[in-house]
């Protein structure tokens, strides 16, 4: 049973007077606990595809099911609930909340999205800080952390709610090469440890080799059906 299944998935949007076809009828499936990468040049549709998988955007045509849910049927609130329950996000710019410490950033979804009780929350945050090697940086705010450290915190935050799926749009784009590798390695370790499916996008050929399954997008179309690395 696939975790994600797309059938003739398409997305178009209006840019001024011009209708842009960002995704043009793609088909793919992603199995649970896999480590998947979407690659392609800028403008190929990677972010649009990840946004649809993440229920941040609706398909214009076709069908997309994530965890047996047709994402097109979710309204704003239902989509938020679905994301909160099932999906974690890692962003290119880290997107940590600047006034919160590393600890508080990881705690945020447990507090504001899933209402975990304090003790359980604390145990989970400490577990994740240890898992991403950030225990000694727990009280630092994002502006006191390096790019790699921020992304570690972001990985921990994405995993905090026991998400079944983590989406990462260009998670290594703002990191140096060594740090980028370490983040990808960390993500893979987390997949192994928690059984979470990781789907990320990149246009870095070296990083894409780390994925177990790679989909290549060009001009909104999949040009391979999911090559296994």
């Amino acid at each position: 049973m696939p975790l994600i299944e797309a059938q003739q998935l398409a997305k178009s949007y209006q840019a001024g007077d011009v209708a842009v076809q960002a995704i043009k009828g793609v088909d793919f499936t992603i199995a649970p606990a896999s480590f998947v990468c979407f690659v392609g040049p800028s403008g190929s549709g990677k972010s649009t595809l990840l946004n649809m998988i993440g229920c941040l955007d609706h398909p214009s045509a076709g069908r997309l099911t994530v965890l047996d849910t047709d994402v097109a049927t979710l309204d704003r609130r239902a989509a938020a609930d679905f994301r909160g329950a099932n999906i974690g996000f890692i962003f290119q710019d880290f997107n940590l909340i600047p006034v919160l410490t590393a600890y508080e950033n990881i705690e945020y979804p447990l507090l504001m999205v899933q209402d975990w009780p304090a003790e359980k929350r604390r145990a989970r945050v400490i577990e994740l800080l240890e898992a991403v090697g950030m225990t000694d940086q727990a009280d630092k705010r994002p502006d006191q952390l390096s790019g790699g450290q921020k992304q570690r915190v972001a990985v921990a935050r994405a995993l905090a709610t026991n998400a079944k799926l983590v989406l990462a749009d260009e998670p290594t784009a703002n990191l140096d090469h060594d740090t980028a590798y370490r983040i990808i390695a960390l993500m893979k370790t987390m997949r192994d440890e928690f059984g979470t499916t990781f789907v990320f996008s990149t246009h870095d050929p070296k990083i894409m080799r780390e994925a177990e399954v790679t989909f290549t997008l060009e001009d909104g179309r999949l040009v391979n059906g999911g090559a296994h690395g």
């Binding site: 941040l56 006034v99 919160l100 504001m112 209402d115």
Partner: protein, 415 residues
């Protein structure tokens, strides 16, 4: 909700400069309003106290039609003895009444044997008058009141007349008055004291004993022009007035018309308009406070939303419900309001305390050395605090709504 409030408090604590600036604006507005309310209230109470406690009393009862002709001091509209008894009975039945004083008001010619002028006079029962308008004895600026305010055959002369006619305590003067039947009668009196004038109706009247007044006017019955009433609690003026008016309103003449008319001091003194202006100023200052809070909180919250667009996009993407985002920003507005009102109230109480310690004096008309004694009532503080907090919440609603409705994709792209 507790978690949202906690997070909102943390956000405010960490966006410290913005929080302090907004709180300072709210505090400034709160202090301006509360101190103004306290000072203007004190000023109003002092002046109203001067008017009611030195001449008018809190309520007055007349025969119907008397007040419309009060400038002429008409003797034919006096309360007859049986009417006086009815009023006295009614007053006894009202718990709020502390004292009452019958007065016989009339105009007379006043002579020191070399000069003659006109004078307005009040015939009073000295003990009842002092109980009804307790500041009256304090207006005696020359002459001792060792044996009470007045004795038979003596007169309290208004200062303006005493100065103009160069009268001293102990001088003999003559009063000549026209009776109800048109005949004239004269009587000599000794000046017992000189009365300081006060602002308002009756503030420059002379006083004599009620029995002397009746003798001068050759009255056979115990008629009076008015009965002044003092209340135990001036703040309960309206219900006491309503109770008295209701009781006396049942007394009708043969044509079915009410026999009496009842007035509060507000209906008799032009200062009531000044008091209303003070109330209006209070209201204007409150409206300005609302504007200050509305603009400052809204401005801060709009900026907060604008500066935190990516943060909103992030928390929205990770599954925070729109309602929670709304609640977070509204909570920040609420806490700003609470913080501002708490500091503002404490600061205002401190300033009011300082003003009381400083014992600032001021003059009103001819009265000098009135000591400002500002106080802040719980109701005033409560209303202002509730208004500020409500406005702070209201001001944060629009930006909060905008944040909650933000498209996460657009928000995440925001630079």
């Amino acid at each position: 909700m507790g978690k949202v409030l906690k997070l909102a408090a943390r956000n405010l604590a960490r966006y410290r400069r913005r929080t302090l600036l907004t709180s300072a604006l709210i505090v400034l507005g709160m202090v301006a309003v509360l101190v103004f309310i306290a000072v203007s209230g004190s000023f109003k109470r002092l002046i109203v106290g001067q008017i009611t406690d030195s001449m008018l009393g809190h309520v007055q009862v007349h025969q119907r039609g008397y007040v419309a002709s009060i400038d002429n001091l008409p003797l034919n509209l006096n309360l007859k003895p049986e009417a006086v008894a009815q009023v006295e009975d009614a007053l006894k039945g009202i718990e709020a009444v502390e004292a009452s004083s019958p007065r016989l008001k009339f105009g007379a010619m006043f002579s020191n044997f070399t000069e003659t002028t006109s004078i307005r006079l009040n015939g009073i029962d000295p003990a009842r008058e002092a109980a009804t308008v307790p500041l009256l004895p304090g207006r005696v600026i020359e002459g001792a009141a060792a044996n009470g305010l007045l004795e038979r055959g003596t007169l309290l002369v208004p200062e303006i007349l005493a100065r103009g006619m160069k009268l001293k305590v102990g001088d003999t003067v003559v009063l000549v008055a026209t009776n109800l039947d048109g005949s004239v009668n004269g009587k000599t009196f000794t000046v017992r004291g000189v009365l300081a004038g006060v602002t308002g109706p009756g503030g420059r009247d002379g006083y004599l004993h009620l029995e002397d007044a009746r003798e001068l006017l050759r009255m056979t019955g115990a008629e009076v022009s008015e009965i002044a009433v003092r209340l135990k609690d001036p703040d309960r003026l309206k219900p006491a007035f309503a109770a008295l008016a209701a009781r006396l309103g049942t007394v009708r003449d043969s044509q079915g018309q009410p026999v009496f008319e009842v007035h509060t001091w507000e209906g008799l003194s032009p200062f009531a308009n000044i008091a209303r202006m003070i109330d209006l100023l209070d209201l204007s200052i409150k409206v300005m406070l609302v504007a200050i809070v509305l603009i400052s909180v809204m401005n801060v919250m709009v900026m907060a939303v604008y500066e935190r667009v990516r943060e909103i996009g992030t928390v929205s993407a990770i599954g925070t419900r729109p309602g929670r985002i709304l609640a977070l920003f509204v909570s920040e507005g609420l806490l700003l309001g609470v913080l501002g009102t708490a500091i503002g109230t404490l600061l205002s109480l401190g300033i009011v305390y300082g003003l009381n310690v400083a014992r600032i004096t001021f003059a009103f008309g001819r009265e000098e050395g009135l000591v400002l004694a500002p106080t802040l009532g719980g109701a005033d503080v409560g209303v202002v605090c509730a208004t500020v907090i409500a406005v702070a919440v209201l001001a944060s609603l629009q930006p909060a709504w905008k944040a909650a409705r933000m498209d996460p994709i657009q928000a995440l792209r925001h630079i």
